[in-house]
């Protein structure tokens, strides 16, 4: 009878799931990325909701929002192979310290000479419809009227802005104005990252919000960007290119 044989199939499947007692030997390891932010080249930590002086433009800038996407984290092995973190989409919000620590597991043990980061959300995900988790449109990093993610959102106040405020929603995933950047970051002093089953190395990466204005100059030039355009591409590129690995420790 059909009913009984289906039941036995289910029973067999359930038994198979629960019957293994021996664990296979696991040589995979973990690592962590900790994103930190400094202001200009002063070495002083970047602080939100504080008036900061920009040494190049002379602007005073107070950031009330700073959020940006990182995705597709990969490690390059010395043998040329590449480990890719599965479903790697991370929304970093400087106001939320927990969002600045990214944990990765299941990395094959070995030596790695570069960390690859995609700054922003890759273009394929921008044309793949509804997403969840970090990519959920409810995170307010998404344009409802012109489908695409806001890769970097930086907002705040500045006396140098004609409106007193600045608001940068930097997005655009295709063509010359793309705000996405994929980059391999090397470890300091040519070190290698060693992944072993014991311990979790922490990669401290450093970003510099002042770099947003590196080419754009004073906020007065364009205090608001809310759609893909040349200036968005330049600001995103300047910020993303300025991210580096500061140090690694166990």
């Amino acid at each position: 009878m059909k009913v009984i044989s289906k039941f036995f199939l289910a029973a067999a499947a359930a038994t198979a799931l629960y019957s293994c007692d021996k664990e296979p030997v696991n040589t995979d390891g973990d690592f962590q990325i900790q994103m930190e932010y400094q202001w200009a080249m002063s070495g002083a930590p970047f602080t939100m909701n504080t008036m900061l002086y920009h040494p190049m433009s002379g602007d005073s800038l107070k950031f009330t929002t700073f959020k940006h996407y990182l995705s597709n984290i990969k490690l390059h092995h010395v043998d040329g192979s590449v480990w890719e973190a599965p479903e790697s989409y991370h929304l970093l919000n400087i106001d939320d310290a927990t969002s600045l620590v990214l944990d990765f597991t299941g990395v094959p043990a070995g030596e790695y000479n570069a960390l690859e980061i995609t700054f922003g959300v890759d273009s394929l995900r921008n044309v793949s419809g509804l997403q969840t988790g970090a990519l959920d449109p409810a995170n307010n990093m998404f344009w409802s009227w012109n489908t695409g993610y806001i890769m970097i959102k930086a907002m705040g106040e500045s006396p140098q802005s004609p409106s007193g405020t600045f608001s940068y929603h930097l997005g655009g995933f295709s063509g010359p104005n793309s705000t996405i950047l994929t980059k391999e970051l090397n470890f300091p002093a040519g070190e290698l990252l060693e992944i072993t089953p014991d311990g979790t190395p922490v990669i401290h990466t450093m970003a510099n919000p002042a770099k947003l204005f590196h080419t754009q100059g004073t906020v007065a030039n364009m205090p608001m960007i809310h759609m893909p355009n040349t200036e968005a591409g330049i600001m995103a590129s300047d910020f993303n290119q300025g991210v580096f690995i500061d140090h690694v420790h166990l």
Partner: protein
Amino acid sequence: MIRFRTGQLAGITIAASLLFSCSDDLRKDHSWRKDMLPEHFPEPVYSIDPDTLSEEVVALGRDLFYDNLLSSDSSISCGTCHAQTHAFAGHGTPISAGVHGRLGTRNTPGLSNLAWHNSYMLDGGINHLDLVPIAPITAFFEMDLSLNEAIHRLNSSPYKARFQRVYNTDSVHTKVLMKVLTAFELTLVSADSKYDRVVLGDSVFTEVEERGEVLFQSNCASCHTPPLFSDFSYANHGFEWPSTDAGRGRITLAAEDSGAFKVPSLRNAALTHPYMHDGSVYSLEEVLDRYSDGILVHSNLDPRIEGPMHFSDEEKAALIAFIHTLTDYTLNTNPRHSAP
């Protein structure tokens, strides 16, 4: 006798119950779902598997489509502006009012045959059907409700239990909300007009309608291509220059796209006045007059239009008679698409 641990017993029970619960749906009457993919239509762009859309999912989407809780002041629903009696276009006004009577800048488009579009909104700014409702729900001039607030309201309402039942989810979130709205929208198929019955051999045109069809094929069909009556391209047809709304140009940022808008499907056009992106043309008669003598030949004019078409009064009347054969009274009266 085989000894099972508690975990194994639980596993077997769950597995067995799952095997028996799905078969009910597949034995139900499929006729409403078959209507979602008319035989004389091409393959849709959005891939639909009617078997995955249960009555419960569609009903949930329908109920939300007509529920005012998705607007900030709970005064309007999707159905307020997308009115069934007008083929889910606006209620005969150039611009539909949102919450607090706010007015945007563009006419409410009709909603039917959405799975055959390749992009959405009059300027094509949205590239996936599932993402569309986010725009009107969150727009200041429309429903002005943040996604987080919409989700909070749904999770504090009887809708939460309904979502838990149809999707394997603890609570409502963006993806499941959009999916049920898409499910309802996909049932809004318009394929039962007199034109369709003629194509399928069940009816015949009158002489005037036949004359109109011949004129339509040679003057209109390169953009308003049957059977969907649009090729979903973007075109500037010379009714206004310089353009006061960049239209497609706002999305592509290309100067040659300024003033171009999506070619609308002409299905049900007799019910969706006023016309054009801003609702500025009030009647089909005026539309034909403009195509006949009012086309402005300018740099962005679509290459498929050479200039004013110079129709005679008899030709205009025939074209209008043909457009009337595109009215689908099934879509506009089907209780499955109506407010609950």
